[in-house]
């Protein structure tokens, strides 16, 4: 199965630039960061305009604020979002004891102003020994410590330096395996910045300005892309009701919140999930099979090739030519993922597709 992710790019920079705020000028002494070299000069006396200003030429922000000691600071903040990434995901059932293989390809548009440093995404689990290193791309997995999930990430690392995927380049073969079935999660993709901001993190600024700075930095400094990752746990021994319940929750909560499915269609799917789960719990396999079939047909109505296996796993998805088949009711990747999961349950029930 081959899936391309085509989501309207989030215009993060444009959104932030709308928030720019400039206050009245004030004479004082402070530190200025050179917008080209990044070097800091102390003891500068001038008029200061507190606020956040976007430099349209560089895409960087000039942040001017007064600190707790009454000194001014004019710092350059280079966001990690000057990229237009494309992330494609493929997944297939392997022959190894129920393991599912996931494969990703990341590309950076020629128009990007930064290389891509890497990305991180939330997953339910990965198999031991994963993710694998591919070329300069090092995979890592870390517990979120806030729940049962993990952060899966790949970052570019070359020798002693953090590297990046340059504009116009593509990195294929980012692989991992998991026992869990795919769902949709948001990959947080970061561009590689070129110089350090002179912004002091532990600063003291007005709350209005602070909020703007927070919106630009830290945990919001990435470009989001939806992708398919392990998210639906598969208990061992297999429990169809548990798998279907996780899928139902994923549809009703995640996919609806991500606006990948129309709520009306979600409601229809939910009713079928409910009856399938009830049938599974009651041991009524025949009824459950019927429900699963109905669910898959509903998805197929929205995307005719939702159940089409990718015959050419060896050829990585280049993300091209996948724009035509669009349903307004459910995102194609979401439909593909759900269909794959339902088919997996059917297989466990001895269903022949």
């Amino acid at each position: 199965m081959s899936v391309t992710i085509r989501v309207v790019p989030v215009v993060f920079l444009a959104f932030v630039s709308c928030l720019s705020l400039v206050a009245q000028a004030e004479i004082g002494t402070g530190t200025v960061q050179d917008p080209v070299t990044g070097k800091l000069t102390n003891g500068v006396q001038q008029d200061w305009n507190q606020g956040v200003v976007l430099d349209p030429q560089t895409g960087n922000y000039i942040i001017t604020y007064k600190d707790a000691y009454g000194f001014f600071n004019s710092s350059v903040l280079e966001p990690a979002t000057k990229i237009t990434p494309n992330l494609t995901a493929q997944f297939r059932l392997t022959n190894q004891d129920g393991l599912i293989e996931y494969r990703y390809a990341l590309s950076n548009a020629r128009t990007s102003k930064q290389g891509i440093k890497g990305f991180r995404v939330l997953v339910s689990s990965v198999a031991p020994g994963n993710p694998m290193k591919t070329g300069n791309w090092e995979g890592m997995v870390a517990p979120t410590v806030k729940g049962p999930n993990f952060y899966l990430s790949w970052f570019c690392s070359q020798g002693d330096n953090v590297c990046s995927l340059l504009p116009g380049r593509r990195q294929e073969g980012l692989r991992m395996t998991s026992r869990d079935l795919p769902g949709i999660s948001v990959a947080e993709i970061k561009g590689k910045t070129t110089f350090i901001s002179g912004l002091v993190a532990e600063r003291d600024v007005s709350s209005a300005l602070a909020q703007q700075i927070n919106d630009l930095t830290s945990f919001k400094d990435f470009v989001p892309r939806n992708t398919a990752v392990p998210l639906i746990p598969v208990p061992k021994p297999f429990d169809a009701a548990a798998v279907l319940t996780s899928m139902q929750k994923h549809v009703n909560q995640d996919l609806v919140a991500m606006k990948l499915i129309d709520p009306a269609l979600a409601s229809q799917l939910d009713r079928l999930f409910q009856t399938a789960i009830a049938a599974a719990k009651g041991g009524n396999t025949a009824a459950m099979k019927g429900n699963l079939k109905d669910l898959r047909q509903m998805l197929k109505r929205e995307h005719a090739d939702v159940d089409k296996d990718d015959d050419d796993w060896d050829k990585e998805d280049d993300g091209k030519g996948k724009e035509k088949d669009k349903s307004r009711l459910i995102d194609k990747l979401a439909a593909k993922v759900l269909d794959f999961d339902l088919k997996y349950v059917q297989k466990h029930l001895g269903h022949n597709d």
């Binding site: 002494t29 402070g30 530190t31 960061q33 990044g38 070097k39 800091l40 102390n42 003891g43 600190d67 707790a68 000691y69 000194f71 440093k117 890497g118 991180r120 890592m140 870390a142 517990p143 979120t144 410590v145 806030k146 952060y151 990430s153 970052f155 690392s157 002693d160 330096n161 953090v162 970061k190 590689k192 110089f195 350090i196 901001s197 002179g198 002091v200 993190a201 532990e202 600063r203 003291d204 600024v205 709350s207 602070a210 700075i213 927070n214 930095t217 830290s218 945990f219």
Partner: protein, 361 residues
């Protein structure tokens, strides 16, 4: 009856007898003190025994119950409680309407993780060092001393008020009394606990070193985090150590005080040390002292030898590990009070579970 005797009235020279107060409990078990007035022996005036009522004044949340026998309510720094109420009761436990009461709040010395006290007990203009009382909206009461004192009438159901916590954590005791001549004894919980619940000291771990706060003995307990943040720090440090086993493990400096709240490095109840209030951030030392991670340059700041060295690749590498574990390691060279960067104090201000915001909390 305790004692009695005779004395001369200094005004008239008449000898009078006296008997002192005695106390007893009435049938309902309430304390009642009885005294006998002076008795003039010539019989011109006979005093009558009188029972002077004792009252109690109690504080409680308007809804729900106090947290314990001493803690009235708990609240995070810079937040306000819901409605609290002061009520006066008579000897029989009956609510006394229309009593005039006075509430005075003050912070307990050395509470909340601060082993310093100077300047803590009063609020100047634009200062938020000690908690403030205020009448609950719709309630009439008088505030004085910048919110430390509140006076009003209990009306039919008690005097409703709120408590606004300051930015430093600490215990605030509210002393209640009656101002209309009643002998009111405060009873029950009287303290508002200000701080963040759920902070815990970082455990010792072989993948990081906790730096003792030798430079700041007035904040001796500086390694407190939420459980999630502490766990993430351990994962972060373990991944760093796994990747760079030949380097020293990470050295951890300030996180939050035992209850969070403002971490006033200068012992003045003010910033800076933002985002060290709620147990979500910690500083990773990077100045090379005693085996600490040594960032040799960042391409931006002037180092101690007066030059700007190229950015050390370890900045990117550490930040990449932070990215992988869901943290945000912000490179920081702090400034001193003269506005100069202090290269020797360089560190990674590491947000472990999100941004706290730039004020406390």
């Amino acid at each position: 009856m305790v004692t009695s005797g005779r004395v001369g009235d200094p005004r008239t020279g008449v000898t009078i007898g006296y008997s002192q107060t005695f106390s007893a409990f009435n049938q309902s078990g309430k304390y009642c003190s009885v005294y006998v007035e002076l008795e003039i022996l010539d019989g011109a005036h006979f005093g009558r025994p009188q029972c002077r009522q004792n009252y109690s004044i109690k504080l409680s949340p308007l809804s729900g119950q106090a947290e314990s026998g001493t803690i009235l309510s708990s609240i995070e720094p810079d937040r306000s409680t819901g409605s609290l109420v002061a009520k006066v009761y008579d000897n029989n436990g009956q609510l006394v309407p229309n009593a005039k009461v006075k509430l005075v709040v003050d912070v307990q010395r050395y509470s909340g993780g601060h082993q310093h006290d100077e300047g803590r007990h009063s609020n100047g203009v634009n200062e938020n060092r000690v908690g403030r009382l205020a009448p609950y909206p719709g309630t009439t009461a008088t505030i004085s001393d910048n919110g430390k004192v509140l006076e009003g009438n209990t009306g039919q159901n008690g005097l409703r008020f709120t408590f606004a916590a300051p930015v430093p954590a600490g215990d605030h005791k509210i002393t209640a009394s009656c101002t209309d001549g009643k002998n009111c004894q405060p009873e029950g919980p009287d303290t508002v606990w200000v701080g963040h619940k759920g902070l815990q000291p970082l455990n010792d771990n072989n993948v990081y070193i906790l730096l003792p706060n030798n430079n700041d003995p007035k904040h001796p307990d500086n390694h407190n985090l939420t459980l999630t943040a502490a766990s993430r720090m351990a994962v972060f440090a373990a991944m760093y150590h796994g990747k760079y086993p030949n380097l020293s493990v990470l050295q951890l400096n300030d996180a939050s005080l035992e209850r969070g709240g403002i971490f006033d490095l200068r012992h003045d109840w003010k910033a800076p040390h933002h985002e060290h209030c709620g147990g979500s951030a910690i500083d990773i030392r990077a100045n090379g002292v005693n085996g600490a991670l040594n960032i040799t340059g960042d391409g931006v700041h002037t180092t101690n030898d007066g030059t700007v060295h190229p950015a050390d690749p370890m900045i990117d590498k550490l930040q990449t590990i932070a990215d992988a574990v869901g943290a945000d390691a912000v490179w920081e060279v702090p400034k001193d009070s003269n506005g100069n960067f202090v290269w020797n104090a360089r560190h990674f201000h590491t947000r472990l579970t999100g941004q706290e915001g730039l004020t406390c909390p």
